[in-house]
């Protein structure tokens, strides 16, 4: 749909500037191009004919983290992230898509096996022409960007993907009644497998049956990029895998996936052949954090207390309104001294493949996060999104901190 359709929404910005406070990009750059007010001004200029679609608006459109902090700070709550997405979509149409993204969205993300292969190819330092793709996935950040150091990478790189050992299927759990479908996100599958294993352990405790679903990428990366069609294709593929009536709830330990799965119905508006199915699936999706909050398994008491802090993934806090739950969980854990992270709900700069496409900016955003982390003196930084885990781990290493970064499932199990 033409961006001009949203002229009223865009014109609603009266330029008060309050979005500047909360925008991680603006706080890093101080450039008007990096804040909601500026992005909306550009869209208004396009609609009013002062500006044309062209390469000079690529940066303002694509350097948005889509974290939604601006809307949360906007008194009239203008949905800038949504408008930016619409604009990205139109931009791709009018100015063009990059081949790297086509490769990623059309040929890699729909197929977990190809994804494994690509990731490993990069990890082994085999310059197979796919390293750009791996970069786009943010893989390199956990190992550093230096490919010649492949030896190091291989040492620490999981040799197998999560799915290699945990095949789709139904597994019996120790719980009483709950039947859980486990949606394995790409991050967990390829990189943060420890988190996946921990989640699986916990699900085994909580649920009677654990169905490891045969899903592919949820579609969020494509959607964030503005490629609605690719996002729809990925979602459609998933809908058939997720439509099983054999599960009571679909759980994922990736807050980004969870928030996007919950939005599937928006991808297929009423009237679309997949709409009902999308509504059905979306309605059953739960973030692992929320599931844990309701079904907290017993944990052993630690001998030496640990200081723990928590980073809110954008897709948990603003995407799903999950703020209280993880904190309550952490505070209830024995032997844990919980300390609130200043600006905990500020984006870490990971934002999917953002960190690679906008390396400098992302690093500045991350540096702010790390400065805040230092003030807590935490032993462990907990979060609930693999993309954040990857980005934060990178940050911790970059800043030479001793803090460990863990998915919440890992901490509990």
């Amino acid at each position: 749909m033409d961006i001009a359709t949203y002229y009223d929404d865009i014109s609603q910005c009266n330029k008060c500037g309050f979005c500047q406070v909360a925008c991680p990009i603006f706080r890093s750059t101080g450039h008007e191009s990096g804040v909601a007010r500026g992005r909306l001004a550009l869209l208004r200029a396009i609609i009013e004919g002062r500006l044309e679609w062209g390469a000079d608006i690529e940066e303002p459109l694509f350097d948005c983290l889509l974290c939604g902090a601006c809307t949360a700070n906007c008194f009239p709550a203008i949905p800038t992230a949504d408008l930016v997405l619409k604009a990205r979509s139109e931009y791709l149409e009018k100015v063009g898509r990059k081949s790297i993204h086509r490769l990623l969205f059309d040929h890699l993300l729909p197929y977990p096996r190809r994804l494994h292969w690509a990731a490993r190819a990069v990890a082994l330092g085999k310059n197979s022409g796919l390293s750009d793709v791996a970069q786009a996935l943010g893989l390199l950040r956990i190992f550093g960007r230096n490919l010649p150091k492949a030896n190091e990478i291989v040492e620490r790189f999981p040799h197998r993907a999560f799915r290699d050992t945990n095949k789709p299927g139904v597994y019996a759990g120790r719980g009483r009644s709950l039947r859980v479908g486990y949606f394995v996100g790409c991050g967990v599958d390829v990189i943060t497998q420890d988190a996946g294993n921990a989640t699986l352990q916990l699900l085994n405790k909580i649920a009677k049956e654990v169905h490891i679903l045969d899903n592919c990428c949820c579609g969020l990366p494509a959607w964030s990029y503005g490629d609605m069609e690719a996002a729809q294709r990925l979602a459609e593929k998933n809908l058939s895998a997720l439509a099983s009536r054999e599960v009571d709830v679909i759980v994922t330990d990736c807050s980004s996936c969870a928030s996007f799965l919950k939005k599937y119905a928006n991808l297929f508006p009423p009237g679309h052949r997949l709409h009902d199915n999308a509504v059905f699936v979306a309605g059953r999706v739960r973030d692992m954090v929320a599931l844990l909050f309701d079904n907290q398994p017993h944990t052993a008491v630690r001998k030496d207390p640990l200081t723990v802090t928590y980073h809110d993934p954008c897709h948990a806090a603003r995407g799903q309104g999950i703020v209280r739950e993880p904190r309550e969980i952490l505070k209830s854990l024995p032997g844990i001294n919980y300390k609130e992270l200043p600006e905990a709900d500020w984006c870490c700069g990971g934002a999917g493949s953002y960190a690679v496409a906008h390396h400098e900016l992302s690093r500045k955003v991350l540096d702010r996060k790390m400065d805040n982390l230092k003030t807590t003196g935490a032993d462990i930084l907990v979060t609930s999104c693999p993309a954040c885990v990857i980005q934060l781990s990178f940050g911790v290493r970059r800043h030479g901190l001793n803090t460990q970064v863990r998915h919440i499932s890992q901490l509990i199990s």
Binding site: Q12, G17, G30, E32, F75
Partner: protein, 857 residues
């Protein structure tokens, strides 16, 4: 014109990635938070002062206009500059230092107001100005607009809290004016620059005063079914002599819009709410809150409740601060009017606003600083509709006219920018505007810094002359003075305004023998509005007469100038910027002055400022005239803020070595007490190191009592024993004896350094000080020293010692023979250059006391 060469040069200065020249990049800097629009030619982001200065130099050489910009939340179009260079200071984002011991902080202009507040909070300090946009408005922007905010009701606006500036002049020169040491000699440059909307210089570093956080705070929400009743409550509270910290009003449309955004705790069915906050020591605070409650209830308040905790309090403020953004729920665009009227005229002003907005069929909402009389009607419309835009502008114009008719002004805090340019004619004559233009010309002769703002160009809308105030003989006396000055101009006779003649020795020796200009016919009280706490007087009125008159209404002018007896003329006190140690709580003359009139060297009667407590219309000529020592004109009339007489004034005294006393003073300065003065004098002059300290507290009885007790405890912590608690007279204070002794000396030295360095300066200065009598104002970092003799070398040595401690010294009084050989203001400073440029432009005939300025000719 912006050439490729210039762009290359700028890229060379700041790096390629810090220059935006493209269509999209400049589109992003074509607006601020107002309705103004204009696409700049280029945007640059310097990281430090040298880079910014290099940009300004390059622009100046190329003849291209530039404007400094922070985060672009200006509400009058002041940072929109078509085709020029936007110098964005967002990278000047560091707090350079916070110094609780000397109650100051140094920041860069790109730091937001809230960032500074957040940094100060853990130290239990705050920076008083708190514009509602504090989350996003930068301190540099606050300087540009002389920003106010809710708390300004009690503490005053930006100009009352900025101590010093580093700035780049339009030709690229970097100067400093003021600093942590109070009251530098010469013209109040920082006063002139604050509120100049980026047209005089680019501020690159700011020194602000910080204040200790109060022990307790009560925030109340008063709910009304009728907006008139809310406005009457405001008048009643101020009229009763209560000055809360804030008195904010919001009406029904705003309440709705805010509540639609966030649940802030305002009742949706109310016609208006007031947010009233009082703060201070816990003792006496509840009593004050209770008085306010009763006054509100007497004025048909539905109910009034106090916030139960910080969360509730924060929510109330969150809503108030977000109101401008929230109205986007009602309409895509708004025009905010920023008129200011006397507090007692609020009900009338609000009624006029409603009438005008209804007549133009433009809906509006009110959210404003009611306690200051500073209206913010938001006219709601859609800027995409040209016809609506026309109506809105007309309505806005009429609201300004209505407020001016009510004795108000066109802008309380948002500035003139481009939006109110034409309305400047409503309040200033061409002669007033020309005088203001003189200020601009002195700073920016080529008109390259933010041109086209603040002062409208000469044209058919110009008004000729100010009308004379007509009370008693005032008008006639002014007419006579105008004639005298005009003929002096023709005859090249040099003049020196001397008031009633008692402080003629101020400043450097005039180069020619000046003819003394008295103010004897100007001793009227022109207008006194006790319920509004404002008085307009003739400059010849004595302080004594004024205090007598004010006391009838239980009010006073909170000023106890040393050396000046009560018989001194107020004009003279203003011209010499006299103030005593109570400055630490009441401020100095510059902080009490709302407006004035004076006759310039051309014999024109010039009006500056106004009669309302908040006013940013035009350049701040008022601040420039205060302390100008009669070198720019003869002050004829002044409008001053007055205050309720303190219920009780009480001083705690203790004795000991100077070091011990200094330690105690430091402890009190860092505490959350609000003393009115902290002074040390030797018990026996010229004897051993044995001093007496007086710590005065003034205000509501209970609060004074509890603070004296707390101060006593702090003294005990420092192993000091108080030797007495004494009440003193509010008008005379408690130092007149000492002042008399000081005034008996031939030399009177005044030195100011950062508060915590005063004792150090005094000790270091001993060798160069012959027999002397000291008066150490530990609360303001000021030493007053009476000396029988002062050798030239000793004077310069002492001046250097002050300068080494980031301070300054000057001789308030010195014999003529000494003055012939010395500059009483010490060694030349770079900022004196601009003072002389000002003098040349504003008094081209050099009629007024040539040579009196710092920097002997």
């Amino acid at each position: 014109m912006i050439t490729d060469l210039l762009i290359e040069k700028l890229r060379g200065i700041v790096g390629k990635s810090h220059v935006l020249a493209g269509r999209a990049g400049t589109e992003l800097y074509s607006y601020d938070a107002s309705l103004a629009w204009g696409q700049p030619g280029i945007v640059v982001f310097p990281a430090d002062t040298p880079a910014a200065a290099a940009i300004v130099s390059a622009a100046s050489q190329a003849g291209v206009a530039c404007v400094p910009r922070g985060f672009g939340t200006n509400l009058s179009g002041g940072t929109v500059l078509p085709e020029g260079i936007i110098i964005c200071l967002s990278r000047f984002n560091r707090i350079l230092g916070i110094y609780p011991k000397s109650r100051h902080a140094v920041v860069q202009p790109g730091v937001t107001n809230l960032e500074l507040q957040t940094a100060l909070a853990p130290l239990n300090f705050f920076y008083a100005p708190d514009p509602a946009s504090q989350k996003v408005s930068t301190l540099g922007g606050n300087i540009g607009e002389n920003s106010g905010g809710p708390r300004c009701l009690k503490y005053g606006v930006t100009t009352n809290h900025v101590l010093g500036l580093e700035m780049i002049l339009p030709d690229g020169e970097i100067i400093r004016t003021g600093g942590a040491a109070l009251d530098p000699p010469g013209y109040d440059l920082r006063g002139a620059i604050i509120g100049s909307e980026g047209t005089l210089g680019i501020v690159t570093e700011i020194t602000v005063r910080i204040l200790p956080a109060h022990a307790a705070i009560v925030t109340m929400l008063a709910i009304y079914d009728d907006i008139g009743a809310a406005a009457r409550s405001v008048s009643a509270i101020i009229g009763a002599g209560i000055v809360p910290t804030t008195l904010e009003m919001m009406d029904a449309p705003i309440i709705q819009a805010v509540e639609d955004s966030y649940a802030c705790g305002y009742p949706r069915d109310a016609a208006a709410v007031l947010i009233i906050e009082v703060e201070g020591p816990a003792a006496g605070l509840e009593h004050q809150a209770q008085n306010i409650r009763e006054l509100c209830m007497q004025n048909n308040c539905r109910e009034i409740n106090a916030a139960k905790n910080d969360a509730e309090r924060n929510r109330l403020w969150e809503g108030r601060r977000g109101a401008f953004g929230a109205v986007a729920r009602l309409a895509p665009s708004y025009l905010v009017n920023d008129c200011s009227v006397s507090r007692t005229k609020l009900p009338e002003a609000l009624a006029r606003v409603t009438e005008i907005s209804e007549r133009y069929e433009i809906p509006h909402g009110n959210v404003f600083h009611a306690g200051d009389g500073n209206l913010h009607p938001l006219l709601l419309f859609d800027s995409r509709d040209a016809e609506q835009m026309k109506r809105v502008k007309k309505a806005g114009w009429e609201i300004m006219e209505a407020c001016v008719q009510l004795g108000g002004t066109i802008s309380g805090e948002h500035g003139i920018g481009v939006e109110k340019l034409a309305a400047m004619h409503m309040i200033f004559s061409r002669e007033d505007l020309d005088f203001q233009q003189g200020l601009k010309d002195a700073f920016d002769p080529c008109n390259l810094l933010n041109p086209g703002k603040v002062i409208p160009a000469p044209g058919p809308d110009d008004r000729k002359k100010a009308e004379l105030s007509k009370t008693g003989g005032h008008g006639a006396a002014v007419t006579a003075l105008i004639q005298t000055i005009q003929s002096a101009g023709i005859e090249k006779q040099v003049l020196l305004p001397v008031g009633n003649g008692s402080r003629r020795e101020f400043g450097n020796l005039s180069s020619e023998m000046p003819f003394p200009l008295g103010s004897s016919g100007l001793d009227d009280i022109i207008e006194y509005d006790p319920s509004n706490q404002v008085v307009t007087i003739g400059s010849g009125l004595s302080l004594e007469k004024l205090q007598d008159e004010l006391q009838v209404h239980n009010q006073w002018l909170p000023l106890r100038p040393p050396f000046a007896t009560l018989a001194h003329s107020l004009g003279g006190l203003a011209a010499t910027a006299a103030c005593g140690p109570e400055r630490m709580v009441y401020g100095s003359v510059r902080d009490l002055m709302l407006g004035l009139r004076f006759i310039n060297g051309r014999g024109q009667l010039i009006t500056a400022g106004g009669r309302v407590v908040k006013n940013v219309a035009g350049y701040d000529i008022t601040r420039l005239m205060v302390g100008s020592a009669g070198t720019l004109g003869m002050i004829t009339e002044m409008t001053l803020k007055v205050a309720t007489l303190p219920e009780r004034c009480c001083a705690l005294t203790a004795q000991g070595s100077l070091d011990t006393l200094a330690g105690a003073a430091a402890r009190i300065i860092e505490s959350n007490l609000w003393p009115a003065c902290i002074v040390a004098v030797p018990v026996e002059p010229q004897e051993a190191d044995y001093w007496e300290i007086s710590i005065g507290f003034e205000g509501i009885g209970k609060s004074v009592e509890s603070q004296v007790e707390q101060a006593n405890r702090l003294l005990q912590e420092k192993s000091m024993q108080s030797i007495g608690v004494q009440d003193y007279d509010p008008i005379n204070g408690r130092f007149n004896e000492q002042y008399q002794v000081l005034d008996g000396f031939d030399f009177l030295l005044r030195a100011n350094v950062p508060i915590d360095q005063l004792v150090d300066l005094f000790v270091a200065g001993q060798p160069s000080l012959p027999l002397h009598y000291p008066f150490l104002d530990l609360g303001n970092g000021r030493a007053l020293l009476g000396l029988e003799k002062f050798a030239n070398a000793d004077w310069l040595n002492f001046a250097d010692l002050s300068a080494e401690r980031a301070g300054h010294a000057f001789l308030e009084k010195a014999p003529v023979e000494f003055k012939k050989e010395n500059d009483v203001f010490g060694r030349p400073r770079p900022e004196w250059g601009i003072m002389h440029r000002l003098k040349n432009v504003l008094d081209p005939g050099h009629i007024f006391d040539p040579g009196g300025l710092p920097g002997k000719a």
